[in-house]
């Protein structure tokens, strides 16, 4: 009897989990019947949130009939990429979410493929990077940080939530390089999660932190950190108090994008339908709700723009990594 009970509960739970994302709504402007999202990481991560948020907006706005999700973690995303390439023909209904690390990890050879092996659908959102210090730090600008670095390079450790050679490190190195310092001399301390890196900053273990802008804004508004510089072209509306790197004479910009990829050989009409659905999504209140909730910045790069953007990013990051000795 207990056995029955448990089994039924399991099935009910499974059914509940499945229906969560697929609240289908019949709309006149439907572009696609369904999209299957392939998420190269586990539940709860950035990729997961992007795919589920996008799917939620697309289905609620009636642009897509139903959305389903599949988490396939492993190999820093390489398992999912390999799967999509090997099973291309049965996956024309699949969109894979990815972000800046696909460029970095294909450069370092974490996986054998790169973005050219996939069909580029669109870059959809992004986040700038920022260097922050704790609120009680004596450093108030990038100039102060550079002066502190010149005075004591070894004592001016910069932390981040990624491995050496990962995104947070590259951003810190890129900024120091653009400021005319030796990127190799920067003492970068890696943490396995952004939260732990932030705790280290507040505890005084590291002097500055390289992090995502949206995370930094939340803590700056709470009065815990000061944003020394953001890697955007111009000041960002979400927190206009934060100066850009460019206006402080450090000529560098960086966007951590997120976007969607299709299987190689995706038929042109399918690709066009995906791109149309995504393009229309930006004007819907459903997307605005999801975007605002997550603090994402709309950075729409469809098709060929996406390719040009990725090639440029690959070159900039590749040069820097070669210089730092990671390639």
């Amino acid at each position: 009897m207990t056995f029955e009970f448990t089994r039924r509960t399991v099935m009910a739970a499974a059914a509940a989990a499945m229906t969560l994302g697929s609240s289908a709504m019949a709309g006149g402007n439907q572009v696609l019947d369904s999209i299957h999202f392939l998420i190269p990481g586990g539940a709860g991560g950035g990729w997961d949130g992007t795919a589920r948020g996008t799917g939620e907006a697309l289905t609620n706005a009636g642009l897509v009939g139903t959305a389903s999700y599949e988490n396939m973690s492993g190999g820093g995303g390489g398992v999912a990429i390999g799967y999509l390439i090997e099973n291309a023909e049965s996956n024309y209904g699949t969109l894979m979410v990815n972000s800046t690390p696909i460029v970095i990890r294909s450069l370092t050879g974490v996986f054998p493929h790169n973005f050219r092996d996939l069909t580029l659908v669109a870059g959809t959102i992004g986040d700038y990077a920022a260097l922050v210090v704790s609120a009680d730090s004596p450093l108030n600008s990038m100039a102060d940080l550079l002066a502190a670095y010149d005075a004591d390079p070894s004592g001016t450790a910069i932390g981040g939530g990624s491995v050496p050679g990962g995104m947070d490190h590259l951003v810190a190195a890129m900024v120091m390089e653009a400021a005319g310092k030796d990127a190799l001399g920067v003492k970068y301390i890696p943490y396995d999660a952004g939260g732990k890196a932030m705790a280290a900053l507040l505890s005084g273990e590291i002097k500055a932190l390289s992090t995502g802008f949206s995370e930094a804004v939340a803590l700056a508004q709470a009065g815990e950190v000061k944003i020394l510089g953001v890697t955007a072209d111009e000041r960002v509306d979400a927190y206009a108090d934060a100066p850009t790197m460019v206006e402080q004479g450090i000529d560098t910009t960086f966007v951590n994008w997120r976007g969607f990829f299709g299987a190689p050989g995706l038929p042109a009409d399918k690709l066009a339908a995906y791109q149309e659905a995504i393009a229309k999504m930006y004007d819907t209140p459903e997307w605005e709700a999801v975007r605002a909730r997550n603090g994402w910045v709309n950075i729409h790069n469809p098709g060929d723009d996406f390719k040009a953007f990725l090639e440029d990013q690959e070159k900039v990051i590749g040069d820097l990594m070669r210089k730092l000795g990671f390639l």
């Binding site: 009897m1 207990t2 056995f3 009970f5 448990t6 509960t9 399991v10 739970a13 989990a17 969560l20 586990g42 539940a43 709860g44 997961d48 949130g49 589920r52 939620e56 599949e70 988490n71 396939m72 973690s73 492993g74 190999g75 820093g76 390489g78 398992v79 390999g82 370092t108 974490v110 996986f111 070894s154 450790a157 491995v163 050496p164 050679g165 990962g166 003492k187 301390i189 890696p190 943490y191 396995d192 999660a193 939260g195 732990k196 932030m198 705790a199 280290a200 507040l202 505890s203 005084g204 273990e205 939340a218 803590l219 508004q221 709470a222 009065g223 815990e224 909730r293 997550n294 990671f326």
Partner: protein, 506 residues
Amino acid sequence: MIEGLMIGLGAAFSLQNLLMVIAGCLIGTFIGMLPGLGPMSIIAIMIPVAITIGDPSAALILLAGVYYGAIFGGSTSSILLNAPGVAGTVATSFDGYPLARKGMAGKALTIAAISSFAGGTIGAILLMVFAPMLSTVALLFHSAEYFALMVVGLSAIAAFAGTGNVAKAILMTVLGLIMATVGEGALFNMPRFTMGLMDLQSGFSFITLAMAMFALPEAIFLVLNPARSAQSGGDAGKITGLRVSREEARKIVPVISRQSIQGFFIGVLPGAGATIASFLGYAVERNIASKEEQEEFGHGSIKGLAAPETANNAACTGSFVPLLTLGIPGSGTTAILLGALIALNVTPGPRLMIDDPQIFWAVIISMYIGNLVLLILNLPLIPYIAKVLAIPRNYLIPFILFFTLMGSYIGQNNSTELLILVGMGVGATILKFADYPLAPLLIGFILGSMLEDNFSRSMQLYDGIGFVLDRPMTLGLLVIAALLVVIPSYRARRARARQQGVAEGD
């Protein structure tokens, strides 16, 4: 504070919110029983539901119910099936499973429920009183101290080696540490020891290893040893002694009160969390227990069950201190909760208590209610849940195998995990036959990567080993760790020497 408490109580005791907490607890308990779905994934699944509710207090109350329910559900699979689904409940299985094997599954579940309740509730009281003061304590620990804390945790492994073979326990710990180095660590951008296999790039997954070390060998053992399974099947079928006697209660009350406090303070440190709290709780209680009680640890001691269960719940509550007062998530689960809070337009941080006192208090009150409802809901269900063990062995074994395999597949959706699970499960079974303890291996694995990360961070920050002498707290913790290893073996040697002396005297 009283005023805040009233606001929180007012918010929590509406009909809607009570339904929320009941729903949350039930969902959390039942999904949490499945190994492979820990609090983190369940909360991630529930977030869209919580956001649809809109009202932040109600949403938080739902999520807190799910959180506590999942932790409680996780202990259930540790106790009944020896299948710990999250690292924080590994220590629960050390004594919980032996108790269940002795036919005291009902009692074990009751003690787990009461300990969890007490740990969570006392933790919530401490949180309410000390939260604003503790935000600074949370930042006292640097990487050097975390490293030292992990060393203390590892030394505590002597606790499991005490009665058995010390050399074997150390060997297994080292094996666990070695296994933790596989994959891409936080500190290297190149994968290590993956033999070119992409599936090993992120290292071995905890859940696969836990199933391979604990649940799978147990199932294989039962198949290979029908005599033992027949006999214990009979025992377990009876499910006697659901009630905790007065004498037993007297035994566990001091354990619960000590571990609620110790667990809470360990939980306050971002990056230590429920796992370390449960191991240290177990080790401390074993070390201060009387000689004959020490013998019981690992063979079904109710103290050994109450200690980690109290500590991990108190630590979970403690982890809300850095989350609410600093906006820093100390664990994966609190990181997900932070995401949920932000999605609900609540920004945790020093200003939360000033700007949104009703939210702050609603969270704390929701913890009380979550714990209370969990206890009320689960105590009557325990006899039914415990009956899982009354299922005849020939049906139960496939059932355990199914959950073991599903648990390791479900988190990663990767079929290679199944091959790794079976391969390691066979290896673990051989080790078990050779009388090697498997728990130290798993503990070494869990602590290994944290140990390494914090050690190399400190080495980098101090340009060498200087941090040991530069930071008094690090030195202090390392000395404690050394004492933990030296004193028991010194005592054992002296006892042996005395015995020999007596023998010679004869």
